[in-house]
Symmetry: C2
Subunit: 315 residues, 2 copies
Amino acid sequence: MLVALAGGVGGARLLAGLVRVVDPTEVTAVVNTGDDMVLHGLYVSPDIDTVVYTLAGRANPVSGWGLATETWTVMDELATLGGETWFRLGDRDLATHLYRTHRLAGGASLREVTAELARARGVRIHVVPMSDDPVRTCLTLAEDAPGAPAGTEIAFQHYFVRLAHAVAISALRFDGAGTARPAPGVLDAIGEAGAVIACPSNPLVSLGPMLAVPGVRDALRARRDAVVAVSPIVAGVALKGPADRLLAELGHESSAVGVARLYADWAGTLVIDEADAHLADAVEAEGVRAVVAPTVMSTPAVAASLARTVLDAAR
Amino acid sequence: MLVALAGGVGGARLLAGLVRVVDPTEVTAVVNTGDDMVLHGLYVSPDIDTVVYTLAGRANPVSGWGLATETWTVMDELATLGGETWFRLGDRDLATHLYRTHRLAGGASLREVTAELARARGVRIHVVPMSDDPVRTCLTLAEDAPGAPAGTEIAFQHYFVRLAHAVAISALRFDGAGTARPAPGVLDAIGEAGAVIACPSNPLVSLGPMLAVPGVRDALRARRDAVVAVSPIVAGVALKGPADRLLAELGHESSAVGVARLYADWAGTLVIDEADAHLADAVEAEGVRAVVAPTVMSTPAVAASLARTVLDAAR
């Protein structure tokens, strides 16, 4: 049994590689829900959807979110009504949110609904939210943004989508994390896994919320030797998203070494890209074993190869 | 200034006739919200939407609900997910519900949101919900229905759409009506109107919820001479929907006379169809003046003519 901690695109891609090299039913993906939000009354869970759509072979490879084959009838009509359309929900994607919102309102847990949606789309790994309780990633603006002066705390998608993460941040907070419980089975899965993979997701806003849920970090620490992380920072930059800037803005080093420093207490091994081979010694100086491999998952074959590297490193 | 009390299709058609013969900005339509419901997390207001879509020239003339030009991408995808699709929400129609739900969640009243939606669709009459507070029409089954044995109380759309109103009813209740307040302006509009028109809507489940909101019936009684109702029962049957059966099931007479009896305390005049000309004396025996005219609004011209008849009757 394998556990993978995943955010959005980077996590989804590594999972897509993993299912090419191991039995999918042996994999539990614990997915970030700090990005979740209610939009137009609908419960939207971006990272879970990215993971499910990717594993279902239906993710949009260009945008990194939503479905590959999509229409925009609802959003176009909503625009004519003067509605808010900065977070674009495709017509088929909307069905996911309608289903989820309806089931949650009926008393189902996010874990149950996620399992139903994954099953309905033919996904065979276990996709599990990090928590059934609300944890919301909030960011404090370090500079003025349209409609939100410096010092304002905004929700993750406001930062990520509405402001296109083109604004500096001074603080990060995971609202609700203090009282959230890991989703049922998450701690047991970490405790029993042959290997725990920390996918190349944003250390601060993808893995960060997960680590903030009481019990998760301790569970990982107890399995440190079995934890293999993949650095999402390659040659100092994030392949996607604002991880590099967020790290720098919040006082960390935007490098594989900075990632090693952040993960050192709970990850025994860090896979770093060949471009960062020269940092292997510095990573190991942080007490984390360094494994050098190609980590840029430009094709499913590279993702599968990276998955194999990670599994080998865990042995 | 004119006030029209309206349910769905019958109300919408008479309003469409009315705006052909008077200045639309002089008309306030008070619309039933007893049919409203939350579906997939979205606040759906069927009668308000039928009125707005009809006046915007975008109503589906065949189905009697939804938009004329519509696609079903979201519902089709929801079906593949195993979601509930008995209440079909078209893609463009969904934009209305997203807009409404978002605004309500942001603290706007239903009255404000309804005005925004009407304005956005170019509707010039004032479309006002009967109340900003929730009033929900509930029906008790007189016989077994699939998944709901006799004696069960079900919501209106469950009865109307899911069971296709093909089941007998033993009781009717307007949940929340006891504490609901008329939407701001409704009582004043009734008090000041040159004429109050009760559209040919279902007496029990379209006008009934409105009359159950404290203050509305008294306001109408105070203006009885100015109130002109149009019978939705023609030759003993409802032109659309279950009004005839509901009347009979709940102990009323399914005829223009039965309608007169129900409305006698607050309506001075009842317009009955030419097919019911022989009932004029019986209507008047109920203390309600009878006006005989063509009431079957098969074309906009007939609707306009009926609107003129109603206005003449109010003078």
